[in-house]
Structure formats: C-alpha cells, structure tokens
Symmetry: C2
Subunit: 419 residues, 2 copies
C-alpha cells in the first residue's frame, strides 16, 4: 500500500487550543483510495521547523499533505518554507484565487487589505488548488528529486475538505494507486466483542483478498468495512457483494445501512418514504435527540419538534404525564417513558414519537436504577412500546448512547410495523 | 521553556476512525506548568515503529508522553516496545492495578480473563501510575542515559485525564520547571480582531514579563490568558492582577468569567444565587441550547425544560405563539422570538425563558433574512427583550454561535436587571 504522512501546522494545535480534526478526515479519504497514512505530525508556526520536518517526511513518504499554517497573519512562514523546500525562487499573484478573495471581502463588507490580497501569492513551481470557500489557496508540488507529491491545504476544516477531492484525483493520476474496492455495512445494537463472536465462522470463511475492519462509533454503531486491494474491479465487487449478502443473512436487522448512512439518515429515508412525521420527548438526553434530528438541513418536513422535559412538573404540564405514574413508578420507568411518548405524539400532532428517560449520571443512580439506566418508548397510531437498557459509561457517553439507542428503537419498530 | 513531545499510538487514529483529543488536553495541562509541547506525533500499532519513534523523540525532548497502544488486545506491542527502549528485562504483576481490574470485571459481571489480568503486568523499571478508571495502568520511566522523562498513558480520554495530575506532579518534582503564573479572563460577544483593536493601547502598556494569548472558541468566546514565567510568585500574581483589573475596566460586561468558566456555568451560578429557574424555546438551534444546559450533572434545580419547536404548528400549539404573528412577520422575527420566550416561560412555569429562531442554513435564506440571521429573546417577570444578529458560517457553526449568543444575551439581561 502506498504510504502518506500528514503534517498539521499551527501553534494553536500545540497549545491545545484546537483539536486537530483535519487529520482524521484526510486519513479516511486517503484510505478509500488505498493510501495508508503511516504518521501524523503536528508542529508549530516556525519556519525552520517546518522546513526540517517537511524535508524529513518528503524523503520518507511518497505523499505528504500539510494543513494549516496559511492565513492572513502567518501565510508568509509556511509559503517561505515551501519556497525553500522546493527550491522555488518566485511567487506570483494567482488571479483566480484573487477573484475569490475579492468576492469574499465584498460579501463581508470589508475592504481588500494587502494581507488579504497577498494570500493569492503562490510559488511559481506549484499547481494551485483554488479555494472557493476561503481566502488561502491550496498548493500542489511535485518534488522531482524524490518523486514525492506534496500538498499544502488551508487549516479551516470546511475549506480543507472542499479541496480534498482534487487532492485525491491528483494522487490517483500521479501514482499508480492500486484498484481498491470497498463496501461498508453499518450495524447498531450489538457490542464489538459480541459481533466478532457472531461473525467468527463467516470471518474464517472470507477469502484472503477480502480484508475486514471493525470501525466502532458510539453514536453510529459499528461499521464493518470489507476491502479488496488490486484485482479486477468487477470481480472484486462481485466477491464483496457475495460475502456482504451473507452478512445480511447472518445479522438481519442489526444492519441498518451502508457506507455513510447514520441512524438518523436511515430513519429520515423511511419516514419520507411513508410520508410520516416525528416528535421527541426527552428527559436525561436533554435535547440531544432533537439536535441530531435537526443537524442536517431539510428535516423540517419530518421532524415537528421536541420537548425537553427535565423536571417532573414539565413532564406533567407539557406532555400530560399522569402525576400518579411518576409517584408510583418514578420518572425513570416503563410507564413514564410510554406516557411521555404518547404525550409528545399528541401535542406535536405527529405520526410517531420517541421518548427517553433515564439516569445519565454521575449522580442520581440507585441500586434499582443505576447510572446508565434508560427507558425508551415509541408511540404510533394505536400503539406504544418500550424497552430498557443499562449502559456503563460517563455522563457524556451515556447521553450519546441513550440518544442513538432511541433512534435505533424507532427504526426497529418501523421495520416490524411494516411486516 | 522546557519542551515536550506527545506521541499518540494507535491504528484507529491513522485510519481516521477516531479524532485525537488527548493531545489537546495534555498540551493545555503542560502549558499551565510552563512546559511547551513542540511536536505531536501519531503512529500505528507497530512495535518497530514505536521503538524507532520513541528513541528519536526521547533523544530530542526532555519530556515525552505517549497515549494509547495499551488495552487488552494490543498491550504487548507497546509494553514490549517500552521494555526494549528502556533496556528493561522483566515485567511483574502490579497488585494494586490487578485489584482495580478485578473490581471492574466484577462490576461488569464478567470473568477475569488472562488478557485482562495481564494488563497489570508492567516493566520493573517503571513507576506505575495506577489507573482507577480503567484496566490499563500508566507508566513512568526515567531514561537515565538521556535524563528524559517518559510517560505512557492509556488512550481512553477519561482514563488518561485522571492520570495527568500525577504526570504534572512528577514533571514538577523531576525537572526544574519555571515558576509560572497564569490568569485567564473569559470574554464573549466581540470578535478577535475587534478585541485586539480595543486592547491595543493596553497591550502596548504590558510589561515584557507578561505574555498575552488570545484563545478563541466559537462556543465559549475568547479567553485572554496572561502568563508570567519565572520571578517571585506573589510579585507575579500582583502584577497580573493589576493588569487584569485594568482589563475589567476596559472591557466591562464583555468579560463574563475567569479560568474555565463557560457561559452556562456563569449563568447557573447567577441563577442559583438568585434562586431562579429557566426554560428554553428553540427553533433553528434544534435542541442545542437545552443540550448545553443539561450537559453537566445537577442542573435540574434550575433548568426545567425546553421546547424544540421546529415547525410553525408546534410554535403555535406548544408555546401559544399567535398564528397571525407568524403570518405577518415570519417565524424568524422579533415578534415570534418574543412570543416564543413568553410562551416557554408560561408553559414551563419558570422565572426566565430564552428563545432562538433563525436561519442556520445552508437553505432557507432570503435577501431580508439571509443564512446566519438569528433572533433571540429573553422573557422574565413583566418584561420581554430581544435582539438580532447575523453570522457568517456553515450550518454547524451557526448553530453553535446562535446557542452561545442566546446564553450570553440572558447573562447580560440578568446583569442589567440587577442594576
């Protein structure tokens, strides 16, 4: 596999002011091409350190991607380092990027400053990757002595992300990357160790060409990624499809999607198909379920609203939960979860409603209802169903797990109600 | 300044499956001691690569901290690398850590496996940092030939975090770190460039001993950190206090707290002091404001609940917004925001209510109400006030900014209402 190194530049990473999310994004995208990231290095805004590090890694790796170290106030450091490194001697004003910079200044209602204009200055020896989302252009160098591909990208995540497709295309065109065939199956509700046990025989039967990776994520579930490197594309695809259809047979409803599907995207697809609407009643999850459902644009046709009923009084007054139920069974109970879902469905006038009530921790647990206990209910036309789970985790992780568990429960209920 | 290098170990980082948040945490903590992180390196679970990298960086830096690469299935790789690196020849079973492991297994209701027991195996040459939150212990080595302090910490963030105080203590005891005095003032509502302009004269007047850092964060605002390295502790403190009190004079209500204060922690403090309760009505923020207010345990005495009224119907039915107001002014308007706040205050029976209604984007903008427009209102006993902001950002960033802006608006209203 072709190896790559990512180098993130910026004092703000080294003092812990920002978390580097760019590297994970780039790693995932390169991985899809069959490129393996072997090392990620973060260094500060120091010209000599940038030069030394880049000299070292462009020597070791055929692909080097830097992010950050560009921007109106520190542009010159990284660009001068790149000039020295690539033995270029001149910069020129790239008119296309300058046009973008002028547009951005105009939109923000600010004058074009020298600092901003100079962001369009680039070494003559590079190919420019025009940044349409921001002012700092990406740059692509071929370091001829070493045959290394060197990319310099801006550090702002959505600007960087917008340039990655060009980076991938340049890598594929310049290096003979192996043909790579992937298929990702997304599961929810079974822990990694249990999933590995269930899939033990199937895994043993996989031909050596297929590599399998377990990619767990508390919000999404476990992604199972099958990859075949090299070989004929259509043969590899056929091979992977054969084994993935076996997977569907073994795992059934544990599988909820493929590729980048999430619980919420899958749910929305089903609800749109059926023309149904949804509301939410949350206690311990405190608004996270609603947040997830509204994180993508365009959910307003489906999601009508949610009630964050953190206190018992609000469970009663907003959702019409019977106060005697809370007195008799407590707020964390099957009965309360069901009344919350029924109440949300009525007040928001939706086809379905989900509710969640539990103990996220660290306080509030009892021997009968320890921290990590969650009751979830789903109400629909003429029915309400509920279930209990107990998780082990800290507050943050419990809130994530509770929320995803609630979305998954609705998914399963919708599936069963169709049968 | 003493320099350090962080090395995160694990294939899961290099394939982009997880984002490395540990490095930022450790960097911030070391920074407080006056230790500067000069480089962060991520490498895979490969014994030779671990040895090579650690040999290289323990040569270059007086402090090296590794995280990850421990855990039941890959323990042996990192530990064997550490054995080779430190020329140790033996491991022993640490009884204290074994006790923790046994407790954890018991609590999870699982048998103690060999894999789990072996996590208590540590090189004889290390000092053990007992991990009470998980099974993998931290380790501390003094590499005598180079006088380097080498720490190996588990990769799970809350386990790693629980060991950092011990790491800091060992650093202070073993290296003559400079006396360092910090003070952090937290501001909200003024952009970095504007803040720099306001503070220009004050910054110029700072004595050379005081270093100033701007640390912006979209949810928290801008932290201004003053640091004095070396010198007498009480003199440094007095010096910093003199200049920070000037800062209070210049910035006034732009300042909302110190150190690790957040908008929500500051708000809760005020509301607890006054014995007041709060509710929320959210449209475009989709539950984020409620999520923030419930992210810490113990908020239930103050925060009674929130309504996520994503549709116009739910604004009307849940909060009693007059349908004519939405028809005449639209849902993103002063009038609608104010009715939402008044409605939330009534249905949740709280002393105060905040509302937010806007256009998070990317769709839904108009020339009059472009993407990034937010109306915020605060309702209290006998009053309702509101304000508009327009931000430039993508959906995710807009939702963050809108939510923090709403919390900050309540903070300011509470401040003024006290006068």
């Amino acid at each position: 596999m072709i190896e790559a190194c990512i180098c993130t530049i910026g004092d703000e990473i080294l003092i812990g002011q920002i978390v580097d999310t760019n590297s994970a994004y780039i790693s995932r995208e390169l991985n899809k091409l069959g490129v393996k990231v072997s090392s990620i290095i973060s260094i500060g805004d120091n010209i000599q350190e940038i030069i030394n590090t880049l000299e070292d890694i462009t020597e070791k790796y055929p692909i080097v991607i830097t992010t950050g170290g560009l921007g109106p106030t520190k542009d010159d450091i990284t660009k001068n380092a790149l000039l020295k490194l690539t033995r270029s001697d001149e910069m020129y004003l790239n008119n296309e990027q300058l046009g973008v910079i002028k547009d951005i200044c105009k939109k923000r209602g600010i004058e074009l400053s020298d600092l901003n204009r100079d962001q369009a200055l680039v070494p003559k020896s590079c190919s420019v990757l025009i940044n349409r989302k921001g002012t700092a252009p990406g740059m692509f160098f071929k370091i001829s002595s070493k045959e290394t591909l060197l990319f310099s990208l801006p550090g702002v995540p959505y600007e960087m992300e917008s340039l990655v497709p060009q980076v991938c295309e340049l890598i594929v065109n310049n290096l003979k990357t192996e043909q790579i065939t992937h298929k990702t199956i997304v599961t929810f509700g079974v822990a990694e160790s249990m999933l590995a046990t269930i899939l033990n025989d199937w895994e043993s039967s996989l031909p050596p060409q297929i590599r399998l990776a377990y990619l767990p994520n508390p919000a999404i579930g476990i992604r199972l990624r099958m990859s075949v490197y090299g070989g004929d594309k259509s043969e590899s695809t056929a091979l992977i499809n054969r084994y993935s259809s076996e997977l569907y047979g073994i795992l059934g409803d544990i599988i909820y999607g493929e590729s980048d599907d999430t619980l919420e995207s899958t749910l929305f697809k089903t609800l749109i198909d059926e023309g149904k609407t949804l509301s939410v009643a949350e206690s311990c999850t405190g608004g996270r379920i609603s947040s997830i459902l509204t994180s993508k644009s365009g959910s307003s046709g489906i999601f009508k609203g949610g009630a964050v009923v953190y206190s018992n009084e609000s469970k009663i007054s907003i959702l019409g939960v019977n106060s005697k139920i809370i007195e008799s069974y407590g707020a964390v109970s099957k009965e309360c979860a069901e009344e919350m879902a029924i109440g949300a469905r009525e007040v928001f006038k939706t086809d379905y409603a989900i509710s969640a009530t539990g103990v996220a921790g660290p306080t509030g647990g009892t021997p009968e209802k320890p921290v990590g206990t969650i009751w979830i209910a789903v109400a629909g036309e003429g029915f309400v169903v509920s279930k209990k789970n107990i998780f082990a985790g800290d507050r943050e992780r419990n809130i994530i797990r509770f929320s995803s568990e609630a979305l998954n429960y609705l998914r399963l209920v919708l599936k069963i109600s169709k049968v």
